[in-house]
């Protein structure tokens, strides 16, 4: 089959690309659009390193086809900071040292952003349940959870 022509929006920019049916959105982001912030940890939906937001919904880019991005608004880690101005979550992750090797970090940040957009005042349990699909092999999660709770408080103006 001929390559599909896909028109979509990535981090607010109109984007067009050609892709094969079997290419995942993650393949397209990384290999065609050179947005390598989203990581491939497992490629099977287990780890969340590939988390992106598609039309407001958090999804695993590794289990979604590139052609499915047609007409959607895709948000990736690359769109999180505003120029040099880091997103509050990014600042808090640094402050709390909520990362070590950093491979899981883009996925956690995107997932946490999606949580705070839905629920600006999550409990610790809600944070842990929401981040259940994001695996980290280094930090033990505690600092990540604290960074998210701290960001939520700051963003609420607390």
């Amino acid at each position: 089959m001929a390559k599909a022509h896909v028109t979509t929006t990535v981090n607010g920019d109109a984007v067009e690309f050609l892709c094969d049916a079997e290419q995942t959105l993650l393949d397209v982001l990384r290999d065609e659009l050179y947005l390598t912030g989203s990581k491939e940890g497992c490629a099977s939906g287990d780890c969340g390193a590939c988390s992106v937001i598609a039309d407001g919904r958090l999804v695993c880019a590794c289990l979604m086809l590139g052609v499915e991005a047609e007409g959607l608004a895709i948000e990736t880690i690359e769109g999180m900071a505003d120029g040099d101005q880091l997103h509050p979550l990014q600042t808090k992750f640094l402050e709390h040292a909520a990362l070590q090797c950093g491979v899981c970090t883009p996925g956690f940040l995107v997932a946490a952003k999606s949580l705070l957009e839905r629920n600006p005042d999550p409990t610790e349990i809600e944070v842990r349940y929401w981040l259940a699909g994001n695996l980290c092999r280094c930090t033990g999660y505690d600092k990540i959870v604290r960074a998210v709770l701290d960001t939520a408080e700051e963003m609420r103006g607390g």
Binding site: E22, D46, L58, C60, L63, L65, E68, G133
Partner: protein, 329 residues
């Protein structure tokens, strides 16, 4: 190995009719994809390489949660998140919204559908890893040998294969007496949820009644148990996302502390959701309390035959049954 998928042709039908025609045209080479959370896993492992992939997730006819008076219908391509967030379902059938909310992670629930959840294939690791076992058309079960790792496998209904139903929503639907609406040869048919799931004694290569060319269109839930008391609990190895070792769904009508009627189903213990019929009979007309819990515990796992490593599931079922009954107090 999990990385790239084989090259396939993707079809995005515009109507149910169109989808049925494509399925017919491509026969054994066709594969339905809804959210793709199970399908793409198979493709990436290269154990399934269908040439024609038919994406039904955009079909209008398969979407939405609607109140029809006597029943509520859920389109097969409705996502698990949409179910979890549905006020209508939470009000009528909280056992289902709770079950949907406990599937995997937000990422998976946002794209995974109810149709895919009840039609997903067995998770037996031997089968998934491509062993040529009975379910894969071979002549052995690799999970039922003296040294096999089978702590996740079945206690009941074994017939060569000892794989279990992995779905969290399936026991809830069985408890609720849901009906599955299937499009077969252009005609809509309705199958009770209990008959939708099939064990290895009926067909060892399938988990559901769906045959080549069939499309699950919707799930209808009668209002029989609307507003009834309910309980859902899932036990897994990890508190983060994981498949259930055992899950339990209960709906019950009560008058004070007396149980008028109850339906209970468990996942993870046989190839299909298992009705705890003996517990249902036993509790009917009885008063909830420690005595009833003890009796429920005693009969809940009757007839279970443990494999080498899944003995622990027997007290698990017994305790879950007791807790479900206790929740009615």
């Amino acid at each position: 190995m999990t990385d790239y998928m084989h090259a396939f042709d993707l079809y995005v039908p515009a109507s149910l009719e169109d989808a049925a025609r494509l399925l017919d045209e491509h026969g054994t080479n066709a594969w339905i994809v809804a959210g793709g959370k199970d399908s793409f896993d198979w493709f990436k492992d290269r154990h399934r390489q269908p040439q024609a992939v038919i994406d039904i997730s955009g079909l209008e006819e398969l979407h939405g949660i609607r109140d029809h008076g006597g029943h509520i219908s859920i389109g097969a391509a409705t996502t698990l998140t949409e179910i979890e967030e549905s006020e209508l379902l939470r009000e009528h059938f909280p056992v289902l919204t709770q079950a949907a909310a406990q599937v995997a992670s937000p990422q998976i629930r946002n794209a995974g559908t109810i149709g895919g959840n009840v039609s997903q294939d067995a998770r037996c690791t031997y089968y998934r890893d491509g062993f040529p076992c009975y379910r894969a058309g071979g002549d052995a079960c690799y999970a039922n040998t003296p040294t096999a790792m089978n702590r996740e496998h079945a206690l009941f209904g074994v017939s060569r294969c000892v794989a279990v139903t992995p779905s969290d929503t399936a026991p809830a639907l069985v408890a609720l007496e849901a009906e599955m609406v299937i499009s077969r040869n252009g005609v809509l048919q309705t199958v009770p949820s209990e008959a939708y799931f099939v064990g290895p004694d009926i067909d060892i290569t399938r988990m559901t009644v769906l045959k080549e060319g069939d499309i699950l269109v919707a799930v209808h839930i009668p209002k029989t148990w609307a507003g009834a008391r309910s309980y859902f609990e899932k036990i897994a190895d990890r508190q983060t996302w994981d498949f259930a070792l055992v899950n339990i769904a209960l709906v019950a009508k009560t008058e004070g502390t007396q149980v008028v009627a109850a339906r209970i189903a468990c996942g993870g213990v046989q190839c299909t959701p298992r009705r705890l019929a003996e517990v249902e009979d036993l509790v009917q007309g009885e008063t909830v309390g420690p005595d009833l819990e003890t009796l429920a515990r005693r009969v809940a796992a009757r007839g279970a035959k443990a494999l080498n490593y899944n003995q622990f599931k027997i007290p698990l079922i017994e305790n879950l049954a007791a807790r479900a009954i206790r929740s009615l107090a």
